[in-house]
Amino acid sequence: MTATALQTKFHPVLEGTLQLEVTNVSAQTDSITSITFGDPLGELLPSYVPGSHLVVQYGTGANAYSLTGAGNAPREYAISVLRVEDGAGGSLAMHALSVGDRVQVSRPRSAFAPAATAKHHLLIAAGIGITPVLSHARYAAEWGASASLIYVHRPGTGAHVQDARDLLGSGLTECTDRGSFQEVLTRKLTTQRLGTHLYVCGPADFMDSVLEQARDLGWPKGLLHSEAFSAAALDDGQPFAVNLARSGITVEVPAGVSLLETLENAGLSIPNMCRKGICGECAVPVLRGVPQHRDLYLTDQEKADNTTMMCCVSRSLDPELELDL
């Protein structure tokens, strides 16, 4: 991507945001590249809460990437991106960046913050899930907070392994296979001092497994924090109809087609970004009917209220929904 290829029309979620310059590109592993962005005039960038992410525009799309720094008065924003050959294209665009390219990015967005009252931070990462957790580890090191990390990676393919070793020392447990991870996890989950908060990031099934085991071992929800990168694959679902109250039309949503796609095909413009039920951009108001919530964004309480749904992944339990659109 070159400066001349820059989009002049911003992705809706990027309006009022920052135009930054690529200041460094370096390979972490064969498939993971670290990229830093800086202000073209060398100004300090807005600080961010550890665990925050940045939305970066590419072509007509935009993707969220975790920031790997501690976040206090940063001169650069650093992300590390795993190349996904069959993804939506964001990671390939990031890997094509060179020093000097200009990119449009959001201000950092926080959805995975450390708990201020925690006595200890137990960080758990698998694969590229190390990125937001590394931000937590740097923050803990900078502020003298107590932290330990279990990092699961295949030998030779882990990003930021040396960073993790330098930051955590004996507080780092590296696991290179599932069996040893399971053993470490069970031991750690049963030996944490009171006031420990758990933070997990990695593939969806990995996070689900860690969180489920923690709950089974008596960890209350208030101590569990997770950052989703990718959602589990969802089934096609049942067909249903949506009645758009303000537009005065009814549209059919077939199995295998999302409500978001259906609304777009009907000519509506719905703000959206990840299209995977993670980012929360595509919320639509529900007036009647019970949605089948399949997103990772809404809280349990919000889901139970049935007044909002994420139209990219969620469907309907009733034959018809009425939306305030």
Partner: protein
């Protein structure tokens, strides 16, 4: 601290790494004798009141315990709230704590002027003299979980001004 006769462990605390239910009762009545711990291992502690020594003991018990513990605090409201405030400082979250307050009992009034605490049997909406600065304090149902007491503020201050 007064160790419960049936449980000498109260002096030394739980075994290190305890992850069961810690039942703590304050005052004369052992309100938790019949408490159902849901099949989890339990440890019982009894204290006469939530005085500094008792709270220090409770903290040291918690410091030796691990995530997975559930804490039950029972007794007069003033003691239960003081203990809840102390254990929140240990990092426990609401889901880990159950408060079982007696229906009646004295209240703690936290003086907004000198920060001293005064215990009283007076009902909400009445006045009490602060033990620390002797200011006549009025108090409402404005309760602070952090200090474990009701906010007391100078009564009739607007009339004096």
């Amino acid at each position: 601290m007064r160790a419960a006769s049936q449980s000498p462990a109260t002096v030394t605390g739980c075994e290190p790494g305890f992850r069961g239910v810690i039942c703590v009762s304050f005052g004369a009545a052992n309100t938790l004798a019949d408490h159902d711990a849901g099949g989890m291992p339990r440890q019982d502690f009894r204290f006469a009141s939530a005085n500094p020594e008792a709270l220090a003991n409770l903290r040291s018990v918690l410091e030796r315990s691990c995530v997975g513990v559930r804490l039950v605090l029972a007794g007069p409201p003033a003691d239960v709230h003081a203990a809840a405030s102390a254990v929140a400082e240990c990092g426990l979250v609401d889901e880990e704590i159950t408060l079982l307050c007696d229906e009646v009992g004295p209240r703690v009034i936290f003086c907004g002027h000198c920060h001293a605490s005064t215990t009283t049997d007076h009902p909400i909406g009445t006045d009490v003299d602060c033990r620390g600065c002797a200011t006549t304090l009025t108090f409402t149902d404005h309760f602070s979980r952090r200090v474990g007491g009701y906010l007391g503020f100078s009564a009739h201050a607007e009339e004096a001004a």
